[in-house]
Symmetry: C2
Subunit: 695 residues, 2 copies
């Protein structure tokens, strides 16, 4: 207990050389720490190879190249979005799996974009220079937005690479990330979801685990597989206990550098809201999926996403309710202050105070922002499409630097990939989602909230959803293209109920700003919350760098990071949990759980205990620092070989959003040797051969 | 549509002679309406027979005697609480069903109490007389409480019957209900839950339906089956379309006589809170049940209860979000006012205004009341037990008339039946429930709410729940008895963590009242909300009786009521829905749904299509006015024979809390002929014989 608290304190305050904490920037790698603790020389070549072999799944995950012919491995639960979109009533790829026996059989995903990071440039000075001293938050916001858009556009034009300026340290630094982009991505292999997600929600975030959570894709250009220079050699033996391992992937979000006031706000406002919302969606999706096999296929990915998030957020919430965790944060803030003097101390305290006062303002508009700007009132693909179409017609005519971020030139191609995706949209599911989210809006803000009234327009959520879904045409891609190409005029003339809904919503969201000019909720948020917070965190970062140097990695931002750790088990209630499971274990667990869903093995697996190496390692645990978004990240050994694929962390790791601890917290991976063992069941010699072809 | 609105308006305003609306008091029966619409003479003998053959399940349902030897039929989902308590890891009666081949094999339920209504006495004058003119709400509350306790105690002593004063018309009348009580109740027969609850949550509140939702018990006294004079003859042919039917049962709660202001409060406060809570519990229970077969057995009843309530409340909420429903209520209030003049009109408007202003006060304390007084922060059997033990030690020494209602002399026996029940309490489930409900408390009121802080005592919900469950002893009945018998001294000396929790909670709930005396939250509620509301509704009832007479039945109060209606189908989207389903239908539906839970038939049923009359009616629909609590109510024909058993209503009937409509809303019953057909599969000739023995 004392040790655990120590570890937590250290985590909040600074990353001890003895801990494996850190999701490190590839351009600020932890060379010294690795040398000191593991006597490992992290060379630039090693880093470059790992970077160029790592892949970002733009829909929220990670992956890596594992052959020179553009073969990519990721998690089944990252591939599931594509699997579902490639399914139909007569072909359920999610449930039944898929194998392309030859390249010609590989299935093209309708709207999957993959990114490979080519270069990082620190543009902090350039971004901050744009903001003149004494600028109001509104001016600062506009100047920063414009500077970032210009940097991105310039980079895109010069390099043809996807170019994103990333805000690091909550505003302490800005880096330009340049990606090679792949949009012709084809499905090669997926196992059945019953073994990929064995144990379902019950075993999610638990260990020991037994999941073949893998999926193979291949990237194409001009109709041919892409030949890549950097890909990870597949290690047939993989890791053993005590090995040093690395994880290169795209952790989504952490909150470790947030202040006490911001964490309290998360505990008291953001998380309770998010949990209530997720539970509401989960109940509705669950119920929808139970109404029949087709409905089940349609809703599987949504259901998994919200169930997973609900469990993750519950763990975060329990973390923030644990007094020692917030106490450690308070102590750390005091400790850093004690190293500062005079004006520095004053500025530091002012910045902390500024963050605290921003939370109070945020509280006033947070739920409105979520419902109306983020779109929580309309959990619906059709609404999202209509909102984009309306906003594109307004934003695209503006100069690049003045547009909302998601409509800047450098982002348009990726946006259009989704907007014009031929992936099916299921109207009955849309109806359910709309009734659910509109009702949740009423529950939270009240049915008589002025904007709610504008939205509902004298109808109940059920009546409005019915009207929207029965009368819209924008589920047809052609209709969307027509509206997009017709611009403002087409939008103004449209009678589509979703377009009309968005138009009346956008109007209702305008309010008198400080300059008496009408202002959108979005701009209000950017000017009164986002920009001031960025400035205050910029200040706090400055003092942290001053006292501690760059010994603390920035919080996760769904960009490429390097983590490392040791393959190891742990103890629970005094009992040892082994570092790995074996295939024998999955059959035992299925039997113990009565072969009942989610513990029912696929047919192929039911008698597989005769055909598979029961002693082969299946899943394993390590101390590396990961979080959601790291799903599908390759696990590498010292030689930079592929030894496994991360797919989850255990429940002790759920507090990792706020603190790193390695006492019990572990991330969980499929073992490379286990992958080879499992492939034996799928009769795919070509795939095995390609994986093991190390030349 | 126009017709539906008309029906709704009529429902809100007055019960048209053409509608079958009404959950009628047995001492104010709708004789004229039945004569007028159905040419049926509702005789006193018919009523007496129906009343004495109807049974209240004190755990929240209804039933009826169906043989002279004390055989009772109710729903499986009403019997499920007992089925679960009689189960253990080696005997899962819920899942597998049960049949006693002879009386000696019947299983005694640990804590089931049944009530049979013997007499109703109007005590309105006596109760109101106790409240002196000009009394403060506090004085009025104390006087009314004392008068009611005295009436009940006097009746109990004189008659030895369970004696409850029931508040009707929200305070418009008070009737004394005297019940014969049975506490030796034995399980005779239950089918498998897979056929009793076929379709699970998916088909709940839907029609067509295919549920064998039945369960048989027998009451005993002094070790022998009770011989009853009044029991329902079982009709082997049952009903056909168009038949007039009656339902005698115990509808739990309706809100039709509430004012617009109170319904708005429900829409804006009560229902959103309740829905959030139910979803939270449902997710936790679901997850717990998935962890293994034993866990599933332990949590089945809880899970069904919250899932059912969540679906019912969602329907209510959608109803209140439908503008026409509240508009009709507003119109009806105006309409009634238009019939009043001068002082009456003023008093009527004052009463409406009073109810509205009480809602504002209620809003200030409502969630605290739910969490801390109703116990929503501690969804735990052990907490409930500890709270009773602590309060019993305080209340029982007081004079009967000054005690909290649940501890008055006339209620103690029933309370002790539950308190000292030997039914198992599952500690891991208790832990889950406590973590869930304590976390929900934090989400809703904040972890820094002063009372929350007192409860958590510096721990997280997880830590507190762990401590409570691992250190308590009150899961042993002997320990509870010791604490009960030891009274205040034993409580003061107890180190049990649940007792300590209750003690610190009770202290935290004391606050300065208006008289500067410390007052509990409970008393604050009774004096500032309950009593003033009762008085205002008393006024409103007076004017309603004045204008409309007793043409409107009081809202449901979980007391015996008579409803009636016509066996009939309805239309959905222009398509006919038949009045009944058949056994052929259940096999079709199982096949269509892939024989996947909750559509997987029990083994016995899988090949039953050879042994059962496929054309026999299974479930049927009627227009009678029912609500939750009516589950298990017998359906009677003109001759007073048992023709079916109510178990649900369709989703169109979910608005029945607020308005009656017969356009599509139906209650759903198992057909008596269908019951006989199904029993053929269970090899129970004795039971069949007993049911058909009409002598």
């Amino acid at each position: 207990m004392r040790f655990a608290l120590c570890a937590i304190l250290a985590g909040v305050f600074c990353m001890s050389a003895f801990s494996d904490e850190g999701m490190w920037l590839l351009n600020e790698p932890p060379k010294e720490r690795l040398k000191q603790k593991y006597n490992f020389d992290l060379t630039d070549d090693w880093l470059e190879h790992a970077r160029l072999a790592s892949v970002r799944f733009n829909n929220g995950g990670s992956g890596s190249f594992v052959s020179k012919n553009g073969l990519i491995i990721t998690n089944h639960h990252i591939g599931s979005d594509a699997l579902q979109k490639l399914s139909n009533p007569s072909r359920n790829l999610l449930r039944d799996g898929f194998l392309a026996n030859k390249m010609a059989d590989e299935l093209k995903c309708p709207d999957l974009e993959l990114n490979v990071l080519q270069e990082i440039v620190d543009v902090t000075a350039e971004v901050n220079k744009a903001v003149k001293p004494g600028a109001t938050p509104a001016e600062a916001n506009a100047a920063r937005r414009s500077a970032i858009a210009a940097i991105e556009k310039d980079s895109l034009e010069k390099t043809k690479l996807r170019s994103d300026v990333v805000t690091l340290y909550q505003g302490g630094a800005y880096h330009l990330y340049k990606y090679k982009k792949y949009v012709d991505v084809r499905l090669v292999f997926a196992p059945e979801s019953a073994i990929a997600g064995f144990g379902g929600d019950v075993d999610n975030f638990e260990f020991p685990r037994f999941n073949l959570d893998i999926c193979f894709f291949r990237v194409y250009e001009n109709g041919n597989p892409v030949l890549v220079k950097h890909w990870l050699k597949f290690s047939p033996e993989g890791v053993k206990e005590g090995d040093l391992v690395f994880v290169t992937g795209h952790p989504g979000t952490t909150n470790r550098l947030e202040t006490l006031a911001k964490l309290r706000h998360r505990r008291d406002e953001t998380l309770p809201y998010s949990l209530a919302r997720l539970r509401t969606l989960e109940a509705a999706f669950h119920q929808y999926g139970e109404t029949g096999p087709d409905e089940r296929m349609q809703v599987t990915t949504d259901l998994h996403r919200v169930a997973n998030a609900r469990k993750a957020f519950s763990g975060q919430y329990q973390g923030l309710l644990t007094p020692s965790i917030l106490q450690a944060k308070a102590d750390a803030e005091k400790e850093l202050g004690s190293k500062l003097r005079d004006k520095d101390l004053e500025a530091y305290q002012n910045a902390l105070e500024k963050v605290a006062s921003i939370q109070k303002e945020w509280k006033q508009i947070e739920r409105e922002y979520y419902f109306f700007e983020r779109g929580d009132a309309f959990t619906s693909e059709l609404f999202t499409i209509a909102r984009h179409l309306v906003r594109l017609s307004v934003e695209v005519p503006k100069p690049n630097g003045e547009r909302l971020r998601e409509y800047r030139d450098s982002a348009l191609d990726s946006l259009k990939l989704g907007l014009f995706s031929p992936a099916p949209i299921y109207l009955p599911l849309e109806r359910t989602k709309l009734v659910t989210s509109l009702s949740f809006l009423c529950e939270q803000l009240g049915s008589e909230h002025p904007i709610t009234r504008v939205i509902l327009d004298g109808k109940s959520p059920t009546q409005l959803a019915e009207e929207l879904v029965s009368k819209t045409k924008i589920y047809e891609v052609e209709e969307r293209k027509k509206l997009f190409e017709g611009g403002a005029k087409a939008i103004a003339e449209s009678k589509d109920p979703f377009v009309l809904l968005v138009l009346r919503l956008e109007k209702a969201l305008l309010r008198k700003g400080k300059t008496d000019k009408e202002q959108s909720l979005r701009l209000l948020f950017e000017e009164t919350i986002e920009e001031p917070e960025r400035q205050a965190f910029g200040e706090l970062s400055r003092f942290r760098f001053q006292v501690l140097g760059k010994t603390i990695a920035p919080d996760a931002t769904f960009t490429l990071r390097l983590a490392y750790g040791t393959v190891s088990g742990y103890q629970v209630d005094g009992k040892d949990v082994s570092w790995r499971t074996t295939y024998a274990g999955v059959f035992e667990r299925a039997t113990k759980m009565g072969h009942r869903e989610p513990f029912e093995l696929p047919e192929r697996w039911k008698k597989a205990d005769k055909k598979i190496d029961l002693e082969a390692p299946f899943n394993f645990a390590s101390t590396s620092d990961t979080i959601g978004g790291n799903s599908g990240s390759p696990v590498l050994n010292r030689a930079g070989e592929f030894v496994g694929i991360n797919f989850d962390r255990n429940r002790h790791g759920l507090v990792r959003n706020f603190v790193y601890t390695d006492v019990q917290a572990r991330h969980i991976s499929v073992h490379s040797k286990g992958i080879l063992a499992a492939l034996k069941l799928y009769n795919c010699p070509e795939l095995e051969k390609e994986l093991l072809d190390n030349k």
